[in-house]
Amino acid sequence: MTRSMRLAMLGLLVALLFLGSLACGKAWVPPGAWLDGDPRWWIIVDLRLPRAVLALALGAVLGLSGAVLQGYLRNPLADPGVVGVSSAAALGAVAALVAGAAGGATVFAAAIAGAAAAMALLAALTWRSDSTVTFVLAGTVLASLAGALTAFLISVAPNPYAVAEIMDWLMGALTDRGWPDVALALPPMAVGAALLWRTAPALDALALGEVAAASLGIHAGRTRALVVAGTGLAVGAGVAATGVIGFVGLVVPHLLRPLFGHRPGALLLPSALGGAALLLAADSLVRLAPGAGEVRLGVAMAMIGAPFFLFLLLGARGSAWR
C-alpha cells in the first residue's frame, strides 16, 4: 500500500469517527432528525458538533506537536504533556483565572504564553545536549514546577467556587464546550499548526544532528522560533479550551512509525490525522460509559497513555534510539 493510500485510509477513519462522535451521547438522536426538523437536531448542532470539532482540532494539534517535538529534539519520548508544556499552559491559564479573569481571551492568551515560555526554556536547556536523560529530566522538573505553582495558586485563590471550577477544568474534558470555545480556540490552533507544519524539512535534516543540519542550510534559530511559537499557540490554545489532555502526542507518532516510516517530516500529517482519530474515538467512548456523568477525557487518556509510556521506556532500554 502506498503512502497516499494509507493517508486516505487515515482520513476516512477520521471522517467516520467524526460522524460517530455526532451520534454518541446520552440521548439518541435518530438519523432522520437531520432532515425533518426534529428539535433534537439542536443537540447535534449546538452540543455535539462543537465538541466534535474541538476534539478533531485538539487531537490534530496534539498529534502534530508530538511529532514535531520528537523530531526537533530527536527524542521519541517527547510530547507536550511529558515535557511540561501542557502543565505550563495550565499554569498560565490558572494564574489568569485566579487573578480574576472571567475566562475567554485572557485565559487563552495566558495559557499560550505559559506554553511558549515552557517550550522556549526547554529548547534552551536541552538544545546542545544529545542526551535523552537531560531532556526528560528537564521536562520532568518543568512539569513538576508548573504543577506545584498551579497548586500554590489554587491554594491561595480567594473564591472556593472558582477553586472547584479550576480543578474540574484541569482534569481535561470536552464536556459542554460550545461554539464560543471553538471560535476562541481554532484561530491560534490553526496558526500554531501552520507554523509547526513548516518545520518538516528542518526536522528531516536534524536527523543527522544539528551541525549537519546547519551545513544543509537549515537555520537553527528560525526552526526553534517556529517550534516554540507553534507549540505555544497550538498547545496553549488547546489547554485553555479543554484542560490538560496528555499522551496523545506521545502515543500517536509511535503507532504510526511502522506504517509511515521514521522520517520525521513525513510523520507530521499522519500524526495530525492519527491524533484527531484517537481523540474523537476517546471522547466518544467516555460519553458512552454507563452512569449519569462522564469519565474525564484527560483522565481516560492518562489511563491509556501512562502504561504505554512505561512500555516505551522499557522498550527503549538498550535500543539504538539513545
Binding site: 523530531g71 543527522l208 546547519a214 544543509l216
Partner: protein
Amino acid sequence: MALTVQGLSVALGRRTVLHDVDAAFRPGRITAVLGPNGAGKSTLVKAMAALLPHRGEVRLDERMVAALDPRERARLIGYLPQDAVVHWNMRVDDVVALGRMPHGDRCPRAIGAALCLTDTADLADRPVGELSGGERSRVLLARVLAGEPRWLLADEPLASLDPAHAIDMLDRLRQVAREGMGVVVVLHDLVQAARIADDVLLLDTGRVAAFGPAALVLTPELVGRVFGVEVALIERDGRHLPVPLGRLGG
C-alpha cells in the same frame, strides 16, 4: 572554484582554538588536515563551512563564505560530520535524499550517482539502523555527494572504520577529487594521509605548522616534532609513508 582561508581565528568559550590560519585549497585535489588531538582540525573545517563563528575570511573565489545565503552555501560546500549518526531509523534512500535539501529537489540522477559511487545502491530501501558501521559511513558520504557540492569537507571519515573500509573510503574521495571536486579531509592516520593526499595542512596547537605538497610536509623531522613521535618512512608506489614507531624522548 578555489577555497581560501585568510587570518582565520576561532575562539571556543575563552580558549582560542585556531590562531590566524592562512591556507589556499585547490579544487580537484585532496588536502589532508593533520595534527595532534586538540590542534584545531575539526574546528578548522567547521569554520570553513561557516558552521562556527570565526574571525578572518573564508572565500570561495571572490565570495565570502559566511556572507552566502545558507542554502547556496550548502549547495557549494558539503560537510561530512565526524559522528556517523542518524537519529531515526530512516530508509537509506531518504537519508541520501537529505543531501538534495539545499537544491529543493530529489534529483534521481544525483542520488543514483551518489549511491553508485559509494556502492550503496543495493542498500537503498533498507532502514539505516540495520546497517554495519562501514555501510552507514558510506551512506552518509552518499548523502553529502548527492548534493553535488563543489567542495567536500570531511571530518575524520575514517573514525569508525577498519583498515579495509578506511582504504575504500579514501579511494572514493580520490575518485570524487578526480572528477573535479575539492576535498579537505581531517585524518588521524599518517600512513593513509600520505597514501592519498595531494596536499597536507599540518596543524599544531591551532597554528599552521606546515602546508604544502604531501611529500614536502610529511617528513620525519616535521611530523616527529609536531606529534612528538619517532617516525620511520617506508616507500610504496613512489610515496613515502611515515610510520610512527614510538614517542620522542620517551
